[in-house]
Symmetry: C2
Subunit: 294 residues, 2 copies
């Protein structure tokens, strides 16, 4: 029996090439915020997500509220991967002791998080992040997850889905990312779930070899039928961003500047047009999936 | 845009008349258990659900384990509607004080439950019910809800859906029942949810006027395309059942005997055949929706 994919669930013809162009990590820093805004206003990014526990959360939240035409979600955050730039949970560390390292900040690696985190504390912390966003006046269109830490085991992944139900928001589910963790996607994502068919995100090998730009162009030239998402991390390669990303070229400042340049370029717009790519936002998906069907 | 209904989600042609014939309330009493087993073995019932907190739970649970060919779910129970026949929560009343009346048993009416119950206690009690069933060795195919109490407000309904995710089970969702509570179905059930199109259940007016049998025949003769469910409560109109249902003719012993007789009759089998009705179980639905789609 033919399985129900995102296109069917959304009611699009089977030859539709749908794409969300998504900027992760808004709120991380001033540089990240400036670049994200630039890609929304003048580039091709059509959705972004906000990290509530990060230092520049309020800056991007103010922008989001003043610019409701742009689609944004909550980038659920449980890790803090930079060497000298750290943030703690929004709950006190007494409430979520399993989520922090000895310094009181979030775990710096997915592996530490996976080994230490207690599901109940994960759920409490993430609820608190969403509640802070809502109390601030944000009206998010979706939930996604920084470093996809919620995909590291089934207990976390259930929390991810449950938060979607609790807050009435679509959740970014990807079989591909689950498989990249050497886990069995079919145990995580079922037919009843709504998931993205294909996720595109740069990798360190490609970046190191100087091929990131060509990689992005190739994506747009070869995109397939289905629901696709391109994950970018636009930022300006400036002093602030270089200090944050010190000793961490993977998704570092230079990489993020390439993201910003490419997605803001005229060439990118031409490629979207030439390849009949249809942009869609999480807000569109929310409207379709979380509205009444009668 | 045409909305996605159950038939599409299950991959059936749009002219399919699917029907689940479901016996509620297994475990309620010995009479209920005997009749449920009879309708499964010799009648047309093809799915049933079990009340964990009720006196005769273990009797039906033993049958369920020994007869895995029959489809069964957990009939999540939060009320206790009979005058002299009562059961308490599975958790201690200190843990779920909002779920009980002064006598320590569940609330006797939907309204009392709705007004008093604290969602957190509802979730804890229902998890405990499911965990007891699983620990006993049951392998349920679905979750449904006694008197549909979880449909009485949005907080309860979210718990209902979240339990489905947590335990990987389809949940019986019905817009019709929500509407019968004068609530807005579109706030409860969204496009992303899997729900039953049409629910058939007797009502007191029909029973009182002696028309229950004709009502059941009419259902089978007029069933429409889509996913339908017929909810029955088979029991034997014996001393035990009459004492349980005393002063409560609505879904009482006499009514339940009619359910048993009709659904076990040759005439019922003929009507199913004559009307090209395709029987489907919650297990079939679980297999389709909770298996991998790759």
């Amino acid at each position: 029996m033919e399985s129900m994919k995102a296109l069917d669930k959304l009611g699009f013809p089977s030859n539709s090439k749908l794409l969300i162009i998504h900027a992760d990590d808004a709120g991380l820093s001033h540089s990240e915020n400036l670049a994200t805004i630039e890609t929304l206003q003048n580039g091709c990014v059509n959705s972004y997500s906000i990290m509530v526990p990060c230092p520049n959360f309020e800056e991007i939240a103010d922008f989001a509220i003043d610019n409701g035409q742009f689609d944004y979600g909550i980038h659920l955050t449980l890790t803090c991967e930079w060497k000298n730039y750290k943030w703690p949970p929004v709950l006190s560390i007494n409430e979520v002791p399993s989520l922090v390292e000895g310094n009181g900040y979030f775990h710096s690696s997915k592996e530490n998080f996976r080994v230490c985190a207690i599901p109940k504390e994960v759920k409490n912390e993430l609820r608190a992040q969403i509640d802070i966003a809502l109390a601030y006046g944000l009206q998010p269109t979706h939930l996604d997850c920084h470093m996809y830490t919620l995909g590291l085991n089934l207990d976390f992944f259930k929390i991810y889905k449950e938060l979607g139900i609790e807050y009435g928001l679509p959740v970014f589910l990807s079989k591909q990312i689950i498989e990249s963790f050497n886990l069995k996607a079919e145990e995580y994502i079922k037919e009843i779930d709504f998931y993205v068919d294909e996720v595109f995100i740069g990798n360190y090998e490609v970046f190191k070899n100087g091929n990131l730009l060509d990689y992005y162009k190739g994506i747009l030239n070869n995109i397939k039928e289905g629901l696709n998402i391109l994950l970018l991390h636009p930022a300006i390669d400036d002093e602030e961003m270089r200090s944050i990303c010190i000793d961490h070229p993977n998704f570092g400042a230079q990489w993020r500047q390439i993201d910003l340049d490419f997605i803001s370029s005229e060439h990118c717009k031409e490629l979207l047009k030439k390849n009949d790519i249809q942009l869609i936002t999480w807000g569109d998906i929310k409207e379709k999936l979380y509205s009444s069907s009668i």
